[in-house]
């Protein structure tokens, strides 16, 4: 009993610590669940995904994710928490060497630069305006475009920001069914184990609810403290620990009931 109390105190301290970390730093989300950059590259020709993965790992952070994109695997999509211009250039150099393509960061940056410079349609500009724009881009961004490059339509590269999926949104659909099932289980515990000891009809369900919540909060706190990357495994982890704990509590309570019944007999 004393050990259990110490354990409760330690768990509560961990939960408070976890809450502080979440408040100050938030969770550490895995790449696909974090706010990250997504680079889509239309390679078109046959490519080996493992080779592209290796190139991406050498160019970006180690937690970069590379997948085939489009139904016919003609493109790859690279997700990474950070993508600097140098990293992207490095990646393009590797792709160009391997596949003989001509990807250039200038092509990738063009759309964003035109957006930033409030150019709605490059085709509506006169030649003179295009030339002025080219020199403005060169001064501001350091990229030198020809008018043909600016006017060329390109759909082979795309860089976008992808927003994070919040921890709450990952687990919220799992919380509601757990609450419903817990209420039914608490009623079952109240009825089934009411004769275990005095006021067991209320104390037993309350203890179960407290321990179930404590365990779940503790796991989430450990994820926050240890900076374990948050992804879609979290609901699964919580659900399985929930079910295992429920089984363990039921077995223990059944054993207690068996002993009490045997003593009475």
């Amino acid at each position: 009993m004393k050990n259990r109390k110490i354990l409760y105190v330690l768990m509560i301290i961990a939960i408070i610590l976890g809450m502080l970390i979440v408040w100050k730093k938030g969770f550490n989300y895995s790449t696909l669940y974090s706010s990250h950059k997504r680079l889509e590259v239309a390679i078109i020709q046959d490519h080996n995904l493992n080779d592209v993965k290796q190139m991406a790992k050498e160019s970006f952070d180690s937690d970069v994710i590379v997948r085939n994109s489009t139904l016919f695997s003609t493109s790859v999509v690279v997700d990474a928490k950070n993508m600097t211009d140098d990293q992207i250039t490095n990646f393009f150099v590797k792709l160009n060497d391997k596949y003989g393509t001509s990807f250039d960061i200038k092509e990738l940056k063009k759309v964003n630069i035109l957006e930033e410079m409030n150019v709605e349609s490059i085709y509506d500009l006169s030649d003179e305006e295009v030339n002025t724009l080219i020199s403005q881009i060169k001064d501001k961004y350091g990229y030198e475009y020809t008018s043909e490059e600016l006017l060329a339509q390109s759909s082979s590269l795309r860089l976008s920001d992808t927003t994070k999926v919040k921890m709450f949104n990952i687990i919220k659909s799992f919380v509601f069914p757990m609450m419903i099932s817990l209420i039914i289980v608490l009623v079952y515990f109240a009825v089934r184990y009411r004769k275990l000891y005095k006021n067991a009809w209320i104390l037993k369900p309350l203890k179960l609810a407290f321990e179930m919540f404590l365990n779940q909060a503790f796991i989430v706190a450990v994820i926050a403290i240890a900076r374990i990357p948050v992804a879609n495994y979290v609901p699964a982890l919580l659900a399985f620990i929930w079910m295992i704990q429920l089984l363990s509590e039921t077995f223990k309570s059944e054993e207690e009931l068996r002993k009490v019944t045997a003593e009475k007999e």
């Binding site: 696909l32 085939n68 994109s69 289980v185 039921t250």
Partner: protein, 458 residues
């Protein structure tokens, strides 16, 4: 006695052969010739987007403008009505248009972005897409929706880009008589058309809209005004209402004044031939989209589709091979432990475990349960629970063991059954695997009688 023992052995052998057959069928399938190759006649497993691939729809806040009519007072004239001896002022309106943003500047805030995200999530689930991941860019309001790449995914654009603004307006004056706030629920319907024949089964497809109490009251009120009337000269005139969704006229109609209205049947597609199955299904899907957008709140912001690329799963072949190897290694270790613990009986215990897993996988295939990473774990979890059942049966009398098992499992069974009804695929697939796992315990109970019960020869 000897005859009874032989009978017992025969029962065990038959039971083992049945289990073997179940394992072969479930793990390897049943194949038949199909053109140039062989085809498994068992249905394929339904696999979630995290294991196959997904469409990633990106929606951005609509920053375009639209033409809007502005009412401008151009002239005023005073008219005296001699009969009623009163003066009334009539204002003649001349329609003029102006360019206004589709989304008002003041509407573009975090509160509305969050609200839009919640409504889109509800719509996606209501439409039956349980396997979705939705993220919101809190700065720009852009929304990403990741869904499995199947026939439903094509309709996602409609679910997000339709605002869901419902209106019933006076066809002449454009006065809004009823709006979205009065809608309680909606349900798609198809009903035979009056002109339908046996050769040409024609149907009308649409949405039945139920209203809340304020809506019902208003509907009955307008149903007395917007009717067909005949004057003394026999001239028939109709005062009509226009039913609009997202500013688009869907129907112009009038009411029967003597009826008491509780709902409205909005027919969207008339005389659709059931023989043209593709068209019928497509039109019905559109009705389901209207059902979904009317069931949920109106979006506070209008979105436009930006891109919808397909991404393969990031769990590659290598990861699946690793999981399979780990599974086989764990299986071998468990089998070795069983042989050590149960000696000769180990064959029967292993048969019960393998048979359980085989039957569970078979049921999962036929029930169309979507396999997620979580439900893969649930299969392992349920087979461990099955092992627990086997141990209880071995340690106690068969029926005592079963009774003890069921009593100990009641809270878990409650949890599993509640999970079945979840609208999230990760939870519902755990619930479904658990449910079929519970059903499959019947197999363990029956086959324990044949394989484990020492008295089965008697």
């Amino acid at each position: 006695m000897k005859k009874k023992e032989q009978k017992g052995i025969l029962k065990r052998v038959v039971a083992l052969l049945i289990v073997l057959l179940m394992c072969l069928v479930s793990f390897f399938g049943i194949y038949k010739r199909d053109l140039n190759g062989w085809k498994n006649v068992l249905p394929d497993y339904e696999v979630s987007k995290e294991l196959t691939g997904s469409r990633n729809f990106s929606f951005v806040v609509d920053d375009s403008t639209e033409e809007q009519e502005i009412a401008q007072e151009s002239s005023e004239e005073t008219q005296e009505t001699t009969e009623e001896a009163e003066t009334e002022t009539e204002t003649e309106k001349t329609p003029e248009t102006t360019e206004v943003p589709v989304n008002k500047e003041e509407d573009l805030n975090l509160k509305n972005y969050e609200k839009a995200r919640t409504i889109i999530e509800q719509r996606v689930k209501e439409f039956g897409i349980l396997d979705s991941t939705i993220s919101l860019d809190e700065k720009t309001g852009s929304i990403n929706v990741e869904v499995p790449n199947d026939t439903n995914s094509d309709y996602l654009v409609d679910l997000v880009t339709k605002q869901g603004k419902f209106e019933i307006v006076d066809s002449d004056t454009e006065e809004v008589l009823m709006d979205s706030s009065m809608v309680k629920s909606a349900a798609a319907f198809y009903a035979p058309d009056e002109s339908a024949t046996a050769d040409s089964p024609l149907y009308n497809l649409g949405v039945t809209i139920e209203f809340n109490s304020a809506g019902e009251k208003k509907l009955n009120e307008i149903s007395k005004t917007y009717i067909e009337t005949t004057n003394a000269d026999g001239e028939v005139t109709q005062k009509t209402v226009t039913i609009r969704i997202d500013g688009e006229d869907k129907r112009i109609t009038y009411f029967a004044p003597d009826s008491n209205y509780t709902n409205l049947n909005l027919s969207l597609y008339q005389s659709v031939d059931l023989n043209d199955e593709d068209l019928f299904n497509e039109d019905y899907r559109q009705c389901l989209i209207y059902q979904t957008i009317l069931e949920t709140d109106k979006l506070p912001i209008t979105y436009v589709a930006d891109s919808s690329p397909y991404f393969e799963s990031n769990y590659g072949r290598n990861e699946i091979i690793i999981i399979a190897i780990v599974g086989i290694v764990v299986g071998v270790v468990i089998v070795a432990a069983m042989i050590k613990k149960f000696g000769k009986k180990a064959v029967n215990v292993i048969a019960l475990e393998l048979g359980y897993v085989a039957l569970l996988l078979f049921l999962i295939r036929y029930a169309g349960v979507a396999i997620t990473l979580t439900s893969l774990l649930m299969i392992i979890f349920m087979s461990l629970i099955n092992y627990l059942l086997t141990l209880m049966i071995l340690n106690e009398d068969l029926f005592e063991g079963l009774k003890k098992f069921v009593i100990n499992m009641i809270p878990l069974f409650i949890t599993i059954i509640v999970f079945v009804f979840s609208k999230d695929i990760n939870i519902s697939s755990v619930g479904m695997v658990g449910f079929w796992g519970i059903v499959t315990f019947i197999f363990t109970g029956v086959f324990s009688l044949l394989l484990l019960d020492e008295r089965n020869g008697n």
